[in-house]
């Protein structure tokens, strides 16, 4: 499954409509705390769902979420 999804996503990245009008690659500053909370597992579900929708529209921002998750590796998530 991993190889399949990677193949499809990379194909779309190369040939998709977004190629010409790439969405903003920089994550807006106001979104960064939410990405960090998401990475820590402390973002409430409604906000998490909203953020997932936003990341669906801006797939390049997913890299920032992955980076946050790597940063918090080993950090104990806060109790909610």
């Amino acid at each position: 499954m991993s190889n399949t999804f990677e193949t499809l996503a990379r194909f779309l990245d190369r040939y998709g409509d977004e190629v010409e009008g790439r969405e903003l690659e920089e994550v807006p500053p106001q979104l960064k705390p939410k990405l960090r909370d998401f990475a820590l597992g402390t973002l409430p579900e409604p906000e998490r769902q909203e953020l997932a929708r936003l990341l669906k529209e801006n797939p390049r921002w997913v890299a920032s979420l992955a980076e946050e998750a790597r940063i918090v590796r080993g950090v104990q998530p806060r109790k909610t």
Binding site: F5, T7, L8, G16, L55, K56, A69
Partner: protein
């Protein structure tokens, strides 16, 4: 040297010989690939006649003409197998053929003196670049629709795990759920993408009969082979 890289080296060498017009190499290429390509085209919806005609053109285009008409194999980058690349080229041409058949109204045969009077017959053929894009357009259209129909959280999980290398355990922490839930959502999201892709494919191109594995392979070949 791995078996696969050895095979790719051999194929690059064979392709280079064909580009230079080596008749033995061209015959070897045809002997090795013809039957398999014929079966692929037929399995993808071509009639026996269509498949044979497409392959006759394909083999003819592999023979170098002059400077203005180099061998088709000049476009082979050597980053996938020659067989996969030829299968993609043949499928691309088959899609173009089907689309031309769908667009073209049935016209009366041209006059007996051979001079065609129909407007369609006098239209210039599309430029080569336009011809090559039929398959990419088709694959892209199906995939964009499938990704768009996929749930946002499932798609996000797929990206995090398979593009950015996070573990399912890390995702379970982010979503505050059990790993088995993550695994289930990933499988469901991937199944949805497959289902919606194939549904759109069937709606778009009635003449093309691709299996999911064929679709993925064509995406892969386009990604690595046409650079």
């Amino acid at each position: 040297m791995s078996l696969q890289s050895g095979q790719l080296d051999n194929e690059r060498l064979l392709a280079r010989k064909c580009q230079q017009g080596d008749t033995e190499a061209l015959a070897q290429l045809r002997d090795t690939c013809h039957t398999a390509l014929l079966n692929i085209l037929i399995s993808r919806g071509a009639s026996h006649t269509e498949a044979n005609d497409l392959l006759a053109d394909l083999w003819a285009d592999c023979v170098p003409g002059n400077e203005e008409r180099p061998s088709l194999l000049e476009k082979f980058s050597g980053r996938c197998t020659l067989h996969s690349w030829l299968a993609t080229v043949a499928t691309n041409r088959f899609i173009d053929l089907k689309r031309q058949q769908q667009r073209r109204p049935q016209v009366n045969p041209s006059r007996e003196d051979g001079e065609s009077t129909s407007f369609l017959a006098r239209l210039p053929s599309p430029p080569a670049a336009e011809k090559e894009s039929g398959l990419v357009d088709l694959l892209r259209g199906c995939l964009e629709r499938a990704f768009s129909a996929c749930g946002a959280e499932g798609l996000l999980m797929l990206r995090l795990v398979y593009l950015h290398g996070l573990s399912q355990r890390e995702l379970a922490r982010m979503w505050s759920c059990h790993e088995s839930t993550i695994s289930r959502v990933l499988s469901q999201a991937m199944a949805d993408i497959e289902k919606n892709t194939m549904q759109t494919l069937r709606q778009n191109d009635a003449g093309l009969d691709l299996k999911w594995e064929d679709f993925v392979e064509l995406c892969q070949t386009q990604e690595i082979g046409f650079i």
